[in-house]
Symmetry: C2
Subunit: 335 residues, 2 copies
C-alpha cells in the first residue's frame, strides 16, 4: 500500500458561470508509482490559465475535464524518481501535471527548464507558453513590422505584456488595454508601453480615437467581447490591419457564446482576422527562447506575477483569475 | 442650348430600409457636351449591384450619393463622340456612367470591351467585375486548391455562380446556398455545382452537416447575416478554413449593422477571415480575362441574367434586386 502523501485539486462538479471555490475539491491522495519508461516529478510552480475555464465548459478543443478529474495545469517540476531514458533525478522540467504535487509522467510533453539565469517561474509566463504565444502571434501570425501601431488587451497579463514589449523591441508602438489604474500604470511604467487605456474607467472607443487616429495595424485580442467589437465596428483598424484572435476571457464564464462584431468594416480597411494557437508552435520553442532569454537577461522584459502559496489555495486563486482580479501571471507555488 | 434628349435615374430622397421606386426619380435631361480630352458615350447595358445600396447609406467606402445625384452604375457603352486621345467613335467600352443614357467621360476608368465572342452584357457579369471578384477571391485571397470543398452564398448570382464554377474547373467541390428551388435547381443543373442548399426551405446548419461533415475549406460569403453566423458558429469550417468576406446583402437595407458571429470557433479550426475587394485587382483584369474567356468560349461557364428594358424601369429593377427577387446578374438594357 502507498502512503497518502500526495495532494491535488479536482473538479467537484460541472461548472456553470463564474467559478467558485466550491466547484473544486482539494484532497490528499496516494503517491503515484513509477512504471517502466516513466518518471515521478514534484511540482514547484503550477500555472493557472484562463483557457482552462473554456476547457471546463467543453468549449475548448482539448478534452473536457469531468467531476473528479484533476484540473489541468502546466508546471515547473523536479524529477525525484526516474525510469525514463532521457530525464534523470534532479532534472527540472516543464510539463503538464495537472494541479497536483506529485505526478507520474512518460515525459512525452516534457522538456528541460530553459537555461540562463531567469527565475524558474518565468518558464510558465514570459518565457513559457504565454511568452511564446505573444512571440509567434506577433512575428509569425501578425507579421509585425517596425513602425506598426499595436493594440493589445489584457495588457498587464503574461501574453499581453509580452506583446507590447515585443512591439517596442521591434520598433513598433504599443498601446495596452487593462482594467483599472494599477494595471495601466504598471503597463506604461514597468513594461514601457506607449500608452494604456483603462477600460473600466475610460471609453476605449474615444481613447483610441485620440491615441491612434489613423487606426492600429495590429489588434492582439486576449479578451473578445466588447473590446473586440469596439475595435472592429468602431473602425479602429488601419488599412491592412490584422486582428489576432488569441484569448476570449470575456466569454469563458458564459453559458452561450455571445455574438461578435459585425464584419462589414473589415472590407473598407482590408482587415484580416487571424487565429493564434500556441500549440501550433511547440516545435519552435528553441527559436523563441533564443530570442527571449537575451531580452530577459538584458533587462528588456518586465513581468509581474500573482502567486498563491500551496495547493489548498489553488482553487481560490483560479477563481480570482476568472473574476479578472489577478494582476500578472497567475501561479501557485509549492516550494 | 442643348436638347433634353438624355435620360437618367437620380436619388429622390435619402434612403431608409428596403428601397422603393419612389426613392428614385426618372428624368429627362440635357445631353452633355464633350470637352477637350473627353468622350461622349451611350450606354447599351447598365449594371445594377447590391453594393450601391451600401453606398446609399454611406456604409461603403466610396462616396455616398445624395438626393439629386445620378445613381452609380457601371455600363457597357459605345463611344459616339470623342476628343479623347485613346478612345474613338464606335469603340465599345466598359466604364462608370451612372444610371443614365449619355455620359461624358474623361476615360480614366474606362477600358475596351473584352475581345472574343461572348455577349457584351457578360462584361458586367461573369466576365466583368463580379467574375473578377470570384476569380481573385478564390485564387488569390482564398488560395483555392484542388480537392477543397467550397461553400458560397448567393450561388445563382454573378459572383456566386462564378465562384462555384471556378471551384469545379480547378478540381474542387462546390456547394451553393440560394433562396428557393428555382435558383437551387439552376445552380446544380446549369452551373454544375455539386449541391445547393435552399436557405428559405432548408436548415443550412443541418444540410451542411450532411453535405460537408468534415467542414468546408472555403466559405465565400456574399451575404453576411445568419448564413455567415451559421457557418462560423456552427463550426462548419474545416481545419485551416477560410471565410472570404465579399458581400453583405443581408445588412445593406438595415439602419444599424447587426452583430456578427462569435469568433471563438475560429481558434479550434485555425480559421481565417479575409476580405475580398475587387478594386484591389483592377490592374490584373487582363490576367482574369486570359483565363475566363477561354472557359467561357469552351462552354464551361453558365450564367443567368435578369434584364429590365429601359431606364424608366431601372428603379423598379434595383428595388427587386434589393428584395432578393432577382435571379442572376441584374441588368438594364438600353439598346
Amino acid at each position: 500500500m502507498t502512503s497518502r502523501d500526495n495532494e491535488r485539486v479536482v473538479l467537484a462538479r460541472d461548472l456553470v458561470g463564474t467559478p467558485e471555490p466550491d466547484d473544486f475539491r482539494y484532497e490528499l491522495c496516494e503517491r503515484p508509482v513509477v512504471g517502466p519508461g516513466q518518471m515521478l516529478v514534484e511540482a514547484e510552480w503550477l500555472s493557472l490559465d484562463p483557457y482552462v475555464r473554456a476547457l471546463l465548459s467543453g468549449r475548448h478543443f482539448l478534452r473536457q475535464p469531468r467531476a473528479g478529474d484533476v484540473l489541468p495545469a502546466r508546471s515547473v517540476a523536479r524529477v525525484v524518481d526516474s525510469r525514463h531514458a532521457v530525464f534523470s533525478i534532479g532534472d527540472r522540467v516543464v510539463l503538464e501535471t495537472g494541479l497536483q504535487r506529485r505526478t507520474v509522467s512518460n515525459g512525452d510533453d516534457a522538456w528541460l527548464l530553459h537555461p540562463g539565469h531567469s527565475p524558474a517561474s518565468t518558464a510558465l509566463g514570459i518565457l513559457g507558453m504565454p511568452g511564446m504565444t505573444a512571440y509567434f502571434g506577433m512575428l509569425d501570425v501578425a507579421q509585425l513590422k517596425a513602425g506598426d501601431t499595436v493594440l493589445v488587451s489584457a495588457a498587464s497579463g503574461p501574453v499581453g505584456s509580452m506583446v507590447g514589449q515585443i512591439a517596442r523591441i521591434k520598433g513598433a508602438r504599443a498601446i495596452g488595454i487593462a482594467g483599472g489604474p494599477h494595471k495601466c500604470t504598471w503597463t506604461v511604467r514597468e513594461a514601457r508601453f506607449d500608452a494604456c487605456i483603462d477600460y473600466k474607467n475610460e471609453s476605449v472607443d474615444q481613447r483610441l480615437r485620440e491615441l491612434a487616429p489613423r487606426g492600429v495595424d495590429i489588434y492582439f485580442d486576449n479578451t473578445g467581447g466588447e473590446i473586440l467589437n469596439t475595435v472592429v465596428m468602431g473602425r479602429h483598424l488601419a488599412m491592412h490591419g490584422r486582428v489576432i484572435l488569441c484569448g476570449l476571457i470575456t466569454q469563458y464564464n458564459l453559458k452561450d457564446a455571445p455574438n461578435g462584431p459585425n464584419l462589414g468594416p473589415l472590407m473598407a480597411c482590408r482587415g484580416k482576422i487571424l487565429p493564434m494557437v500556441v500549440y501550433d508552435y511547440e516545435n519552435r520553442r528553441e527559436e523563441f527562447l533564443r530570442a527571449a532569454i537575451p531580452w530577459f537577461e538584458s533587462g528588456q522584459l518586465a513581468y509581474r506575477e500573482d502567486v498563491a502559496e500551496g495547493l489548498d489555495n489553488a482553487a481560490a486563486q483560479f477563481c480570482k483569475l476568472m473574476r479578472g482580479e489577478n494582476f500578472g501571471k497567475t501561479l501557485v507555488r509549492l516550494l
